[in-house]
C-alpha cells in the first residue's frame, strides 16, 4: 500500500538528522534479549564510533557490530559523530572473525556520515582498514545481515555493508558520499545539498530499485523518533525472519549468493 506521506530525498535527510532520531544505543535494549559489549581491535585501541558485542534475538546468539551516533554533544564527542578510525574497522573485523569461529551470524548496523578524515586515520591506514573489512566480510563463513539505520555515507558505510541481505529504514539514506560532499565536488558549492539529494538516488526505494538493498523497514508516521518501540519491533521482526532464512542455507551456497549479490551491480553496454 502506497503511503501518502512519502518524503522527498531532502526531507528524509532532515528526518535522519533530527536530533531525536533513535541511535543504536536506543535500539539495542529493544531489539536484543541481552547484549554483552566487547572492546578493542587488539592492535591500537578501542574506537567508540563502533560498538560491538554479543547479543541474542529470540534466543539466537548473534554478533552485533554498529556505528554509534550520539544523542547529544557529549555522546557525539565520545563516539566521534559515528566516524570510525581504522581501529574501529579493525575492531569490527576482529569481532566478525570471532563470530565466524563460533558460527554466530553477524548483524551490522550502518549509521555514519563516513569514515573519519584525519592525519592519524591516514597514518594508521584508513584505506587498508576498510578494504580488509570489505574483503573479509565477502568471504566470512557465517550469515551477515546489515541494516542502514540513518545515514550510510561512502566507504565508511560499505565496510559494514557487505552482507547477505541489506535492509534500509524507510527514511534512511545510503550514498557514495554525503550530499554536501557531492555538491562540493561536482558544483563547487556545498550549499547545493538539496539539489544533490534530488539527483543522487539516496532513498530506501532507490536502493531496492538499484538492487543495492533487499528490504525496506517501515517507520512510523513522521519518522522513527515518533515511536522508537514500534521501529525497534519492525527491525527485530526483519532480523529474526532474515536470520532464520539465511541460517538454513548451506554456507558455500550462501557465499556464492553473497558474491553474486554484489557481482551483478553495475550498468554498462558491450558492443
Amino acid at each position: 500500500m502506497e503511503k501518502l506521506n512519502k518524503l522527498t530525498p531532502y526531507e528524509r535527510l532532515e528526518v535522519v538528522r533530527h536530533k531525536g532520531r533513535p541511535t543504536i544505543r536506543d535500539y539495542i535494549p529493544l531489539i536484543f534479549d541481552e547484549f554483552i559489549e566487547m572492546h578493542g581491535d587488539r592492535c591500537f585501541g578501542d574506537d567508540r564510533a563502533i560498538v560491538g558485542g554479543i547479543g541474542s534475538i529470540n534466543g539466537i546468539p548473534v554478533t552485533v557490530i554498529a556505528q554509534v551516533k550520539g544523542r547529544n554533544l557529549n555522546e557525539n564527542k565520545d563516539s566521534n559523530f559515528a566516524m570510525p578510525h581504522p581501529e574501529g574497522y579493525r575492531k569490527a573485523l576482529r569481532l566478525a572473525k570471532q563470530a565466524e569461529k563460533f558460527r554466530r551470524p553477524v548483524i551490522c548496523f550502518i549509521d555514519t556520515p563516513g569514515a573519519f578524515c584525519g592525519v592519524e586515520a591516514e597514518k594508521r591506514g584508513q584505506g587498508e582498514a576498510i578494504a580488509k573489512c570489505i574483503i573479509e566480510f565477502m568471504r566470512l563463513r557465517t550469515p551477515v545481515i546489515s541494516v542502514v539505520l540513518g545515514e550510510g555515507g561512502s566507504g565508511g558505510a560499505i565496510a559494514l555493508g557487505v552482507c547477505d541481505e541489506l535492509a534500509v529504514l524507510e527514511n534512511s539514506v545510503y550514498s557514495v558520499i554525503s550530499p554536501r560532499g557531492f555538491a562540493s565536488i561536482l558544483w563547487k558549492d556545498a550549499g547545493k545539498e538539496k539539489e544533490a539529494c534530488n539527483i543522487m538516488r539516496i532513498t530506501a526505494e532507490d536502493m531496492v530499485e538499484l538492487e543495492v538493498a533487499e528490504k525496506i523497514i517501515e517507520e512510523p508516521l513522521g519518522g522513527a523518533h515518533n515511536d522508537i518501540g514500534q521501529t525497534a519491533e519492525n527491525i527485530a521482526e526483519f532480523l529474526y525472519k532474515s536470520l532464520r532464512e539465511k541460517m538454513k542455507i548451506d554456507i558455500d551456497v550462501l557465499l556464492n549468493e553473497r558474491y553474486t549479490k554484489f557481482r551483478k551491480i553495475g550498468k554498462f553496454t558491450e558492443e
Partner: protein, 300 residues
Amino acid sequence: MGLEDLFNVVKTRLNVIDGNAADSGSEDKTDKDDSAVRVPKNMLFKCPRCLNVIMTEELEKNLKVCPECGYHARISAPERIKLIADKESFREFDADMLSANPIDFPDYEAKQQTLRDSTGLKDAVVTGECTIRGERCVIGVMDSRYMMASMGSVVGEKITRAFEFATKNKLPVIMFTASGGARMQEGIVSLMQMAKTSGAVARHSDAGLLYITVMTDPTTGGVTASFASLGDIIIAEPKVLIGFAGRRVIEGTIKQRLPDDFQSAEFMLEHGFADMIVERKSMRRTIAHILKLHKTGGAA
C-alpha cells in the same frame, strides 16, 4: 562536517602545465593555481612536488620522471603497457565495454563521449593478459586522464572480470592503480564496485594466486579502500600521492597545512602500508623477478 572530497581527493595539488595529467573533468577546472605561468600547452612541465619547470621533451626522455626530485608523473595506460609488457604480448579484455548511466546523471553520456574522443579510451581502466619477460599474467592499468580514473560500473566490471579470468586460468594479477575514488556520477552504484572488485580479489587469493598492486599517481579514495590495498605485495612509485581522504578535507579539519610528504609513497612505506618503492625504470625487472619467485607457488 568536512567530508567534502572524501572520494575525489585529487584536485589542484597535482595539476601540471602540460595539461596531460590534470584533466579530471570539468569539476577540477575552476580553481587552478593563479600563480601558474601560462605557457604554450605541452611545452613545459612543472613538477607538482618540487615545482621545478622543465621541457616536456626532457621529461619524456626520462620516462616522465622529474629529473630534479624523482616524482613519477602520470602516464597513460598505453604508455604503461608498453613499458611493462613484452612486445606484442598484450591482448586486451573487454575493449568495447561502455558505461551506461545508472542514476540518469545529467550530461554524463556527453561528458564521456568528449573524453573518449580526446583520450582514445573507453573508460578509466585497460585490462588484459600479457607476458612480462616471458611470465604470463593478467594486468590492469588505470588511466587518470579519464575522469581521474574514478571507479564506476565499467572500471568495477573490467577489474572483476580480469580477476575472474586470472582465477580460472591460474594466473597472477598485476594492477597499476590510479584513481580519484568512486565515480560520483554513478552514485551508490559506484560505491558497490568496491565490494564487487574485492570479492573477485578474495576468490583469486583463495585459489592461492599472486596479486601485485603497483600504486601510481594518484591512488586515493574508494580504490585505496578496496582492491588497491589488497595486494599480496604492494609496490609504489616514488613520490606519488597515496591516501584515503582528501588532503584539503583533512587540512580543513585540523586547520593547518600538512607537510608535503603527507600521503606520499614514502609516507605509506614508513607507516607500513607498502612493501617497497620501485622506480619506473626498474619496474618491469622487479615485477618479472617477483613473478618468477612465485612460479612454483599457488594451489595446484
